[in-house]
């Protein structure tokens, strides 16, 4: 199986779906001539032309709304947000329009549209450019929300998202674009709404999604050396959540640590922690722990910004807590 980057996986997904369905087009800032701010759309403009790879002015609310209107009328736009930080400009369009249109029209409209871009902190970007905003979208009924962590999942989920008849918000990460992984040559899809066990274990369940999955895996490896068998469950989809997979894994281990790089209050992680406490109440051997971003805006200083984010060490500490090992 060829090993490719997360960026290439996204590019393949968009390319294949544009080739497959001429209603699919890519719209956003710098997606065409510049080949994408993070080069996700490299080569697509040359291949499909300006009609289907559309550069916009810097006008997130505007082009997001245009995408939604086009989707209502039957096209299948892929809207690229240069980063999720700028998606806040378009929050009204996504929450008031995309998520609500089908419901308030009594089921008259389909909204086959994907909103995608990098989410969460990178490095040295400070408060406005380093935000993990999953909760904003996962909170809203009428949306589907996905957050793949590997090239395989990125490609398979993006293809599913483009083929879905509902608005899908897909959160990538700047620090994931260069990561590599095996991606088959043959066509495949990853279903929305299905979690994936990235590492099997019996003593504790680590539940996570997105970029920090890799921290969870490395924490699990450290723990293995200490004789602790950690299972790593990658949610992949935040809305809908794969509750069955969550409960099944915790039923096996009886202990749970949730890892979410977002701020902790009212986050996806805190919701999952509630879900586990509620559904697995009888079988938990310890309280559910949440390893989240600290409850502060992101500072610029590197030492400080690292302190804000989850780390393998923080995860190991939390695991030891639920194992009563410290």
């Amino acid at each position: 199986m060829p090993e490719i980057t997360y960026r290439e996986a996204l590019n393949q997904a968009i390319d294949e779906e544009m080739a497959r369905d001429d209603r699919v087009f890519l719209i956003g800032e710098e997606v065409a001539l510049y080949n994408g701010a993070y080069k996700v759309s490299r080569g697509l403009y040359d291949k499909y032309g300006e009609k289907r790879v559309i550069d916009t002015p810097i006008t997130e609310g505007g082009f997001t709304g245009i995408g939604i209107g086009a989707a209502m009328a039957g096209l299948r736009p892929v809207v690229e947000w240069m980063t999720f930080n700028f998606s806040i400009q378009a929050l009204d369009q996504v929450i008031n329009n995309a998520a609500k249109m089908r419901y308030m029209s009594g089921g008259q409209f389909k909204l086959p549209i994907v909103f995608r871009g990098p989410n969460g902190p990178a490095e040295y970007l400070a408060a406005q450019h380093s935000q993990a905003l999953a909760a904003f979208y996962a909170h809203t009924p009428g949306l589907l929300v996905i957050s793949p962590a590997t090239p395989y999942d990125a490609k398979g989920l993006l293809k599913s998202a483009i083929r879905n008849d509902n608005p899908v918000v897909m959160m990538e990460a700047e620090l994931l674009y260069n990561t590599k992984g095996d991606v088959p040559k043959e066509e495949y899809l990853v279903p929305i709404g299905k979690a994936d066990i990235k590492r099997s274990g019996t003593d504790v369940t680590l539940i996570t999604f997105g970029k920090v999955l890799h921290l969870a895996v490395s924490a699990a490896e450290q723990l293995q050396a200490e004789g602790v068998s950690a299972e790593v469950l990658d949610l992949r989809s935040l809305r809908p959540l794969d509750e069955e997979a969550i409960v099944a894994s915790v039923a096996k281990t009886g202990r749970c640590v949730v890892i979410d790089e977002s701020c902790p209050v009212a986050s996806v992680g805190s919701y999952v922690a509630w879900l586990v406490s509620n559904k697995c109440f009888d079988i938990l051997d310890a309280q559910v722990e949440l390893v989240a971003g600290l409850d502060v805006p992101m500072p610029y200083n590197h030492r400080l910004e690292l302190q804000v984010q989850p780390s393998a060490e923080k995860i190991v500490t939390a695991v030891k807590k639920v194992l009563y090992k410290n």
């Binding site: 809908p240 069955e244 559904k279 109440f281 009888d282 938990l284």
Partner: protein, 394 residues
């Protein structure tokens, strides 16, 4: 066709509106949008615009009248149109009317998947409690959701020292509702017994002289005097010398009474009551007896008022007529003591000369509230009373 013009909600919160003034009058031609009248809502005076055009055939709501939303205030139609008396508005269908709730729908995926585990469902608190009592939690039957063992289950399972308390009721028991009177008795006497520290003093009194005196008096007079009247009189007399007995404990003070109001416990089918003979220390035996008779009659007739039984300063309970030898009584608040009187019976008495003689005897038991009456005080009162009964003066 004529149109009924209804009162409208002209503010979001109003329930009815008052017609402040009719701008248009019966017979006027009105156009749509013309101001028909002014309506005072709960917030402000608003103009009511005509929703119809034609002739204002009838005004059905007078100036100053308050009209509920939906009720007709006027009728507009063609000039010569015959109109019926406006009907009551149709019963308004409420917007929030509920569709019968058969199945409350569930969001698509919140069902709890079965746990693939043999582990027992139990709450952390239940587990902790079981551990504390050395109980194997798997032996406890759970009553929580899906058989979860909860705190109450563990508490139930903790072995108890065999309880002596019999079951409170049996299947064939009759359950009787408590009457207000019984409730009051229960409250008063429980309050007395549990807050006044009782102690008891008993003497055996030779009643030969008392009986003789009474017989003599009753033979000479038409007014037959009861034994209880004698006892009341004697107590009143002796109490003059022992004012502590005639006192009440009130919060952190002692109130010593100057008058001597003595109650006598009288049994009734629906419960005990104790009517009071007032000012006994000032009254003659005959007076006391007359009043007592009247009170007992009233008691049996059920016509006592609170003035007849409230606020005694001392109480006598006599169960002699029931054949009781001796007993202890509970102090009747706000009293500080009560005298329990047993039956008069012939008894052998060892005299000072060490010879046994037969006398008419009677046991007296005094219950005292130790907060006011120390043992010695109670004892002196009781022996003085004994002395008076055994040697009654006229």
């Amino acid at each position: 066709m004529a149109e009924n013009i209804p009162m409208l909600a002209l503010s979001p919160t109003m329930e009815e509106g008052v017609i402040v003034k009719w701008i248009k009058h019966q017979g006027d031609i009105v156009a749509q949008g013309d101001i028909l009248c002014e309506v005072e809502t709960d917030k402000a005076v608003m103009e009511y615009e005509s929703p119809a055009e034609g002739t204002l055939l009838r005004i059905t709501a007078a100036q100053g009248q308050s009209i509920a939303i939906g009720e007709t205030i006027a009728v507009i139609g063609a000039q010569d149109e015959q109109i019926e008396t406006p009907q009551k508005p149709k019963q308004q269908e409420v917007l929030t009317e509920e569709v019968p709730r058969k199945n409350i729908p569930q969001p698509p995926k919140t069902s709890m998947p079965p746990l693939a585990t043999a582990k027992l469902r139990s709450s952390p608190l239940a587990r902790k409690l079981a551990e504390l009592h050395g109980l194997d939690i798997s032996s406890v039957k759970g009553t929580g959701p899906e058989g979860r063992v909860i705190e109450a289950d563990v508490k139930q399972a903790i072995p108890k020292t065999p309880a002596a308390t019999p079951p409170l009721s049996r299947p064939d028991d009759e359950v009787i509702e408590i009457t207000p009177k019984r409730k009051l008795i229960a409250k008063t006497l429980a309050g007395s017994k549990f807050t006044s520290p009782h102690y008891y003093l008993k003497v055996n009194v030779i009643a030969d002289s008392l009986i003789a005196t009474r017989q003599k008096h009753n033979a000479e007079s038409d007014h037959k005097i009861s034994l209880n009247a004698f006892l009341i009189k004697f107590v009143a007399e002796v109490m003059q010398r022992h004012p502590v007995i005639n006192s009440s404990w009130q919060d952190d003070k002692i109130v010593q009474h100057r008058t001597c109001d003595i109650a006598l416990a009288v049994s009734q089918p629906d419960g005990l009551i104790a009517p009071v003979v007032r000012q006994c220390h000032t009254k003659s035996l005959t007076q006391i007896d007359s009043e007592l008779k009247a009170l007992v009659e009233k008691t049996h007739a059920g016509s006592l008022t609170s003035a007849d039984y409230a606020n005694s300063t001392f109480t006598i309970s006599n169960l002699g007529s029931f054949g009781i030898d001796e007993f202890t009584a509970i102090i009747n608040p706000p009293n500080s003591a009560i005298l329990a009187v047993g039956k008069i019976s012939k008894q052998p008495v060892v005299g000072d000369d060490e010879k046994i003689q037969i006398h008419q005897c009677m046991a007296l038991t005094l219950s005292c509230d130790h907060r006011l009456i120390d043992g010695a005080i109670g004892a002196i009162f009781l022996t003085d009373l004994k002395e008076m009964i055994e040697n009654p003066r006229q």
